[in-house]
Symmetry: C2
């Protein structure tokens, strides 16, 4: 494999910095899901922690580095999970955390960012406008901007999930990874392609927010004019060139799935796995549902990457009227 921006030794070192609460998350076969999917399915569960997503693996690295350098403040744009994780990691290290988000972001995520003591600025536009605004804040205040997927720590943090999959010594045929900015896919993908190259790395994105998948297929950055999906955690439009370069080296495939498959996936995870997940975390199940033949009788891992949902939206998706 050609060199990505990641380094496996550094990823192993990262495990010493990240609060153990976010490491060694559950990894288990979920047979109850299998009759409906036609393949063996294992879950890597990233939701059972104080921020209910994998993002703290990366923010622990970022915040630790900043605190070690005597920095006092940090800003990021976020659809909600990165902001929440940075707020958590920063709070414990005395950092002043600011988050910029779209005012259309999931309310439950914004509430948690505020509750964790971060400053929250909302922009009247989508996540790409929040990214612009966060960069402007960083420039004007002279503080560190954390850019998800571009900043290597966010990829290295996510990559520790890959190490845990490889170190589990269990045999998998494929790993399904939600594709948004690309930190999760390039991080986990780098480790798998380095240490277990026989495992297929499959990225999954919603049809309604396909920019990075289209870019991967075209082997050049493709942007989109809009993003329209319930999977708010992966709804970017402007892929980052350096991330695409890495993704081209580590992803075996990138597939797009329909909204109805995401909802069916969320419902299956609720009914058969007892899991509350956000739409992005159901992308892997959606990919199996849309291409059963491809996965038939194989053993697939799906990374359940986040569980931050609005309660009533979740009730609707799992087939239930709000209170």
């Amino acid at each position: 494999m050609q060199q990505t921006r990641l380094d496996t030794a550094r990823i192993r070192m990262a495990r010493r910095v990240i609060d153990p609460m976010f490491l060694d998350t559950p990894l288990y076969r979920c047979e109850a899901l299998e009759p409906g999917l036609g393949c063996a399915v294992s879950i890597k569960l990233e939701t059972a922690n104080p921020v209910r997503s994998f993002k703290a693996r990366g923010t622990e690295l970022v915040a630790s580095l900043l605190a070690g350098n005597g920095e006092r403040a940090v800003v990021c744009a976020s659809a909600g999970n990165l902001g929440q994780a940075l707020a958590w990691s920063g709070r414990g290290r005395g950092l002043d955390v600011s988050v910029v988000a779209s005012r259309f972001a999931t309310a439950a995520k914004l509430d948690r960012i505020r509750a964790l003591g971060a400053g929250l600025e909302l922009v009247d536009g989508d996540h790409e406008l929040a990214r612009e605004r966060a960069a402007a804040v960083a420039r004007s205040e002279g503080i560190r901007l954390v850019e998800d997927s571009l900043d290597i720590e966010t990829c290295e943090g996510a990559a520790t999930i890959g190490l845990e999959l490889v170190d589990s010594a269990r045999q998998f045929d494929a790993v399904l990874i939600a594709l948004g900015g690309g930190a999760l896919a390039t991080g986990v993908g780098h480790v798998l392609k380095s240490l277990a190259p026989e495992v297929e790395v499959i990225c999954v994105q919603p049809l309604g927010a396909p920019a990075l998948t289209l870019s991967w297929r075209a082997r050049r950055v493709v942007t989109t004019d809009s993003a329209d999906t319930i999977a708010d955690g992966v709804a970017g439009r402007f892929p980052i060139p350096a991330v695409l370069d890495d993704l081209l080296l580590v992803a075996d495939d990138a597939v797009l799935v329909r909204e109805e498959s995401i909802i069916t996936g969320m419902r299956m995870l609720f009914d058969h796995a007892g899991l509350v997940v956000e739409p992005s975390a159901a992308l892997g199940i959606a990919a199996i549902l849309e291409d059963r033949d491809r996965f038939a009788d194989r053993h697939v891992v799906t990374v359940v990457c986040g569980g931050n949902v609005d309660g009533d939206a979740c009730r609707r998706w799992i087939g239930a009227a709000p209170l």
Copy 2:
């Protein structure tokens, strides 16, 4: 502390026998729950594994011992979780597992027992009749009867949760434990009273199935004529004397909670923690809801002991109509 039937050194040894998939489960502070409860709350999550409950910690010990002794078959009575766990542990060790359950048991639990390849016999009565029938099967077939809470392995398995709480080196004021047959409470309680005696051990049972709590209060076995609760996992009527003796040594309190508090607890865990739990796993939250003053500003751990629910029943409880 006077001697219980448990031994801490044996419990440490048990960790070497239990499949690591069931050990070192997530333990994390869940701040989103706290405004509604008025105290600091940490969750010990026992649902993210192939059987969605803590019971496999015990059945791993039982099945390993039986297989080591060349036994071929085993039978237990179960409300559903023990049977599922024994089916899982036995299957991996070539044991022929039979489970006796009430025909009124939670359908999702019975389905999983069958799916795991165990023989399932249903009795036309409650869990106490299933216990009688399982004992008769064991006698007539000359095979091992696993008796939950009486058999020391079931307590030792549960006790490994206590070790993980103590070994986490985090400071708690109280641990809330669902009380059914008593394995979880005496197991975790033994470890806490041995290694962290300052932590209050509080057992929680539904008002509708209070037999062991009434026994603990009376310091002698009290049986009830019926059990009426949605918390199917803890709905026993005939406490086991040896278990009560241990419980008298390790429990600081045993409280009873209303059904409506259990449902509110399930709803809070869904909305604020993103967790699907069975009613028994919400008993701890219910106990806080019913006595906020007692817990105000303290740090409480609640063991989320199981997540096997019927999907549509769960939808009703969390405030949602079935599909």
